[in-house]
Amino acid sequence: MKLQTATQHDLALCEVCGQLGKLANNAQCIRCATRLHHRKPHSIQYTWALLIAAYVLYVPANLLPIMETRSLFGVQRDTILSGVAFLWNSGSWILALIVFIASVAVPMLKLLSMTLLVVSVQIKNTMAPLPRARLYRLLELIGRWSMLDVYVVAILVALVQAQSLATMAPGPGVLAFGAVVVLSMLATMAFDPRLIWDTANQTEINGEVSTHANQSTAA
């Protein structure tokens, strides 16, 4: 038995209200009048554009200082990694680990995983669609946590001002880092997970799914 998808029957799910509708030219949803599409339009192009922009900004985000501390002893410039090292050396290794995961590991793994997903869809890879779908869901969930360092800098900068012994100011790295987080979130949203399954459709399917599809087309 072959799987039946909405696309094969020229049907499409409305992204706003979840109503299934017939997809003729310029079709609108019968319930909420939203334009219907089989897949997110230009999904791969948008995802690539946003991903490449995120990769480019990833370099200054990690090399430029995110914070500058001016004190009597001179100026100290902190990058994201030196911030993690500071937390580690001062004994708060749990926080060091959290910040490392949120600010270093997640952005890098997210960019690499998105690249893997887009490439796998483009070369029409049929392997392991379920793990890839799960990976996509995970990326949607964790991307936001990278904003952590932006918030830390914002609070430190507001508190440590002229009244105290030191003054902290945000460095240019924080702008690049915030941009990486926003761009990679946008890249994840631009990607359509249904593309993963489009190439995997031809594979055999288990009994439960095939009965679903049969009954659906009979209805």
Binding site: A6, L13, V16, L95, D149, V152, A154, P193, V209
Partner: protein
């Protein structure tokens, strides 16, 4: 055709009367994506949580988040103070990003929710329903209150080496807000909203 539906994440065609639903909802048999969720009194609970979130959001922004005690000298900052300092330090984009993700988007989201839920609760159709649902879908990933809380905690630890740190009242409000928003996103289901909209006159 009436009973047909498709999985939003893998496009599998499904007969909604044959989808094996558990008490809590249903998932796609092929890709395990969530198709819908069911919650008793979804509308009422969502409305109550929305009101609670609006109050907490107001409190969280009126009181200082953290304070510092440096040699008897006290400094404290609210969320708006934090954004103002970033703006002064030539980081207007970061200031806007901070305010948007922690105040503006959660506020707009909650106001839109209240606008939608109040009429639906009394079987009326709220004006601009489809547009607001679309806006809520777009805005939702950008509300990052829970990340902000973690950011406050990390900065507290970093500052504790410099001076005495005084957690402000707003930190508790943000903590409560985080829990309320988490509860709201489990109770609320867009399918329930559309079904109540269809039933309403």
């Amino acid at each position: 055709m009436r009973d047909l539906t498709a999985c939003p994440e893998c496009d599998l065609l499904l007969n909604s009367t044959h989808v094996t639903a558990t008490k809590g909802g249903a998932t796609c048999p092929r890709c395990a994506a969530e198709l819908f969720r069911r919650h008793p009194d979804s509308l009422e609970r969502s409305l109550a949580l929305t009101c609670a979130a609006l109050v907490l959001l107001f409190l969280a922004n009126s009181f200082p988040i953290v304070g510092l005690n440096i040699q008897g000298h006290q400094v404290e900052t609210t969320l708006f103070g934090t954004a103002r300092q970033l703006w002064r330090d030539d980081m207007p984009i970061v200031a806007v990003l901070l305010l948007a993700t922690t105040v503006v988007i959660p506020l707009v989201e909650m106001l839109a929710m209240a606008w939608i839920l109040f009429p639906l609760r009394f079987q009326r159709r709220p004006p601009g329903f489809a547009l607001l649902i679309r806006a809520l879908q777009l805005a939702h990933p950008w509300a990052m209150v829970e990340v902000f809380i973690l950011g406050v905690l990390v900065s507290l630890v970093k500052l504790s080496h410099l001076a005495d740190v005084l957690p402000g009242p707003a930190i508790w409000c943000f903590g409560a807000l985080m829990l309320v928003l988490a509860a709201l996103s489990t109770v609320l289901d867009h399918r329930t909203l559309w079904q109540s909209w269809e039933r309403a006159a």
